[in-house]
């Protein structure tokens, strides 16, 4: 008899423990913030673009005599969302343009991940205010954008990877590290892999769960419509005269193709909330929804909406996998050894700058003043290395000077925009000359070879002798 009472209680206790453990694993396990950083970049670019486009007719959208007047919007918000707010409603017409510019700057900083804890909150405030100021121009894109901005802001984790904040922190560490380089000539920059974080995991989980709700609701709501059951709904989207970018009316001759696309689209939305949680099924689901959104963007011209949905789906992509796209499949595998002049302050600073953007120790800096360069590569000579920086790739290829710099910048996502200039005709010729001139005139640490300098060490030699610094 007693067990009739205790067994159900134990079952409930076991269930409670299982729920607690599962919840802790789901929410409070630190996650790699790389994918969150990529979501931030994509969200920031789209937010910037959205506000920029509003700026093409700023008075029309936000002005006192715009499509929706401030009085009309205030009355509308009082009716539907009494607590809704928008700073745009307080901005007089004359100040709209300056405020718009400030907002664009904030969104640019947010995109780059600069001061990200602050700029992510401001970015969300800008987007939420914009949505509320112009409710007559809002469509699905704004809903998703606002949601992403909310989660990026509230968790404060969006700048933990793929950000200038992190770059700055790494650069400071690397600057100290390069100054402390050991007698072996090599020094190890801190890993490019960001620290897993609970805040990042919460942000990713919030985006993931919200995305599941969006697809699920979109799918379930469609079940009310006969066109989604009889397979004709796809036609309704591609033949909508105001949306189509291309003439797809030829599809009318292939009704079963229309049926197939309709059923497939509905199936994706209905199955997404279930299959996306399965590790094996996730890449397939992500590939399918990406294709679906590309299709929506191309056929309906809803490019921004499609892009923001793809951006949100990045929350399901593995951070290490994203990083491996630029750092290589094998973590920590060195792509090249960089021979630089360790006695040159400018060279040391350059190595700190470049290695701070290294996604995962692709570059191994080697101070040529402390090693036998022929051991790095038999074709190298100390004289040649002193003339210009040399890069020995993992495939034993040697690049020097300007070409080495460009190769290294090409490995570092942060510097990709700079590395692209090499494709402009003539830039390489000028670049080599400029590099050689800078390399030839570079300052070096004063060599201490007499007693006087031994008493008064040069100011550039900031590192204690005990660390084995090579000022001789």
């Amino acid at each position: 008899m007693r067990r009739l009472l205790t067994d159900p209680l134990q079952a409930v206790a076991r269930l409670a423990n299982a729920v607690r453990d599962g919840w802790n694993r789901f929410v409070f396990t630190p996650a790699d913030p790389t994918s969150l950083g990529v979501v931030r970049v994509a969200t920031g670019i789209l937010a910037f673009w959205s506000l920029f486009v509003y700026g093409l007719d700023l008075q029309g959208f936000f002005g006192s005599t715009g499509w929706s007047t401030p009085e009309g919007v205030t009355a509308f918000l009082k009716e539907v969302d009494p607590t809704a707010w928008s700073f745009w409603l307080a901005i007089p017409d004359g100040l709209l343009r300056p405020v718009w510019i400030v907002c664009l700057v904030i969104l640019a900083l947010f995109t780059c991940g600069a001061f990200s804890r602050v700029t992510s909150v401001l970015a969300w405030a800008i987007i939420a205010s914009t949505v509320r100021r112009s409710p007559v121009t809002v469509y699905g894109f704004d809903q998703i954008l606002s949601t992403l901005c909310l989660y990026l802001a509230v968790t404060g984790a969006s700048g933990k990877a793929v950000s200038l904040d992190r770059y700055y922190a790494r650069w400071r560490r690397n600057r100290a590290e390069v100054a402390r380089r050991s007698k072996t000539g090599t020094w190890t920059a801190p890993s490019g892999r960001p620290e897993p974080s609970i805040a990042a995991n919460i942000a990713l989980r919030l985006i993931q769960c919200h995305l599941v709700l969006i697809y699920g609701m979109a799918g379930l709501a469609k079940l009310q419509g006969p066109a989604w059951w009889n397979g004709s709904a796809f036609w309704g989207t591609v033949a909508a005269g105001e949306f189509r970018l291309f003439d797809l009316t030829w599809l009318a001759s292939y009704p079963q193709l229309i049926n197939a696309f309709t059923h497939a689209g509905l199936a994706v939305e209905l199955l997404y909330p279930i299959v996306i949680w399965n590790r094996a099924g996730r890449p397939i689901v992500l590939a399918i929804v990406t294709l679906m959104h590309i299709g929506i963007g191309i056929t309906l011209g809803l490019v921004e909406f499609s892009l923001v949905m793809v951006a949100a789906n990045l929350a399901f992509v593995s951070g290490p996998w994203l990083r491996s796209l630029v750092a290589g499949a094998v973590p920590g595998q060195v792509a090249g050894r960089v021979l630089y002049d360790g006695a040159c302050p400018r060279c040391r600073a350059s190595m700190a700058i470049v290695s701070a953007g290294d996604p995962d120790r692709l570059i191994e800096p080697v101070d040529l003043t402390a090693v036998d360069v022929t051991k790095v590569h038999p074709s190298l000579s100390r004289e040649a290395c002193m003339r210009s920086m040399h890069l020995v790739t993992s495939k034993r290829k040697v690049k020097e000077g300007y070409d080495a710099v460009m190769a290294i910048l090409g490995w570092t996502p942060l510097f990709w925009p700079i590395s692209l200039v090499r494709f402009i005709p003539g830039v390489s010729v000028v670049g080599r000359k400029v590099y050689n001139r800078i390399a030839a005139s570079r300052p070096r640490d004063v060599v201490c070879n007499d007693e006087v300098c031994g008493i008064h060490p040069p100011s550039s030699a900031q590192v204690p002798a005990s660390t084995g610094r090579s000022a001789r």
Partner: protein
């Protein structure tokens, strides 16, 4: 690779884990937020009285954080697209017609914004008509007319109407393709547009 990463993350979590009180606070916040977002998504029409009353009870939250959307895209079916037509009359008797969305506007996102303008106007006009029997009482119709009057100097009145760009019947399209060898022009006003519904004529402030 994935497993390795997870193990590293978990081991890191042991040293950087949040204290229990913070986990409890975070759990309450996350669960509450998720429940309210869920309620909002279910509370959009069609919904039960219970769902709608719950949704209405938390409007303050949705207003604060710009949430509460229902995400019913293309549901129950892809709808025809509203097109706003404004006829602007000038002092000298001339008239000018403005079409929203304007097909020539660039970039494409501005076109999407104009599609939204027409869509929101249609909803508001229908609500005004249902509520007062007079479409011209629509808040946004009055606001749009005022805007068009201001942006077209010399305008004395703006007459608004809305029509639907219809979705063609695929069987009819197929028949026309079979008969003529080419698809019909989906912008043909005689075939693929509804009869324009007049919203009203709004005088402009010419002072």
């Amino acid at each position: 690779m994935d497993q390795l990463d997870t193990r590293k993350a978990e081991s890191a979590g042991e040293s950087t884990g949040w204290p229990p009180w913070l986990r409890v606070v975070a759990t309450i916040a996350i669960v509450s937020h998720a429940a309210l977002i869920w309620i909002a998504a279910w509370g959009g029409s069609p919904a039960s009285r219970l769902e709608m009353s719950w949704r209405d009870g938390f409007r303050w939250y949705y207003g604060l954080i710009d949430q509460g959307y229902t995400y019913r895209y293309y549901a129950p079916e892809p709808p025809p697209t509203p097109v706003l037509r404004a006829v602007i009359k000038y002092k000298d008797g001339k008239t000018e017609e403005v079409r929203i969305p304007n097909r020539d506007i660039q970039p494409r996102m501005l076109y999407q914004r104009q599609l939204a303008l027409a869509n929101h106007l249609l909803n508001d006009v229908e609500a005004a008509r249902a509520g007062t029997g007079d479409a011209s009482r629509s808040r946004w119709a009055q606001s749009y007319a005022k805007h068009l009057g201001k942006t077209h100097p010399g305008a004395v009145s703006v007459a608004l109407s809305v029509e639907m760009h219809l979705i063609p019947d695929p069987n009819e399209i197929r028949r026309q393709i079979d008969a003529t060898g080419k698809a019909p022009d989906l912008d043909d006003p005689n075939q693929f547009y509804s009869v324009p519904e007049r919203i009203g004529e709004f005088p402009c402030d010419v002072s």
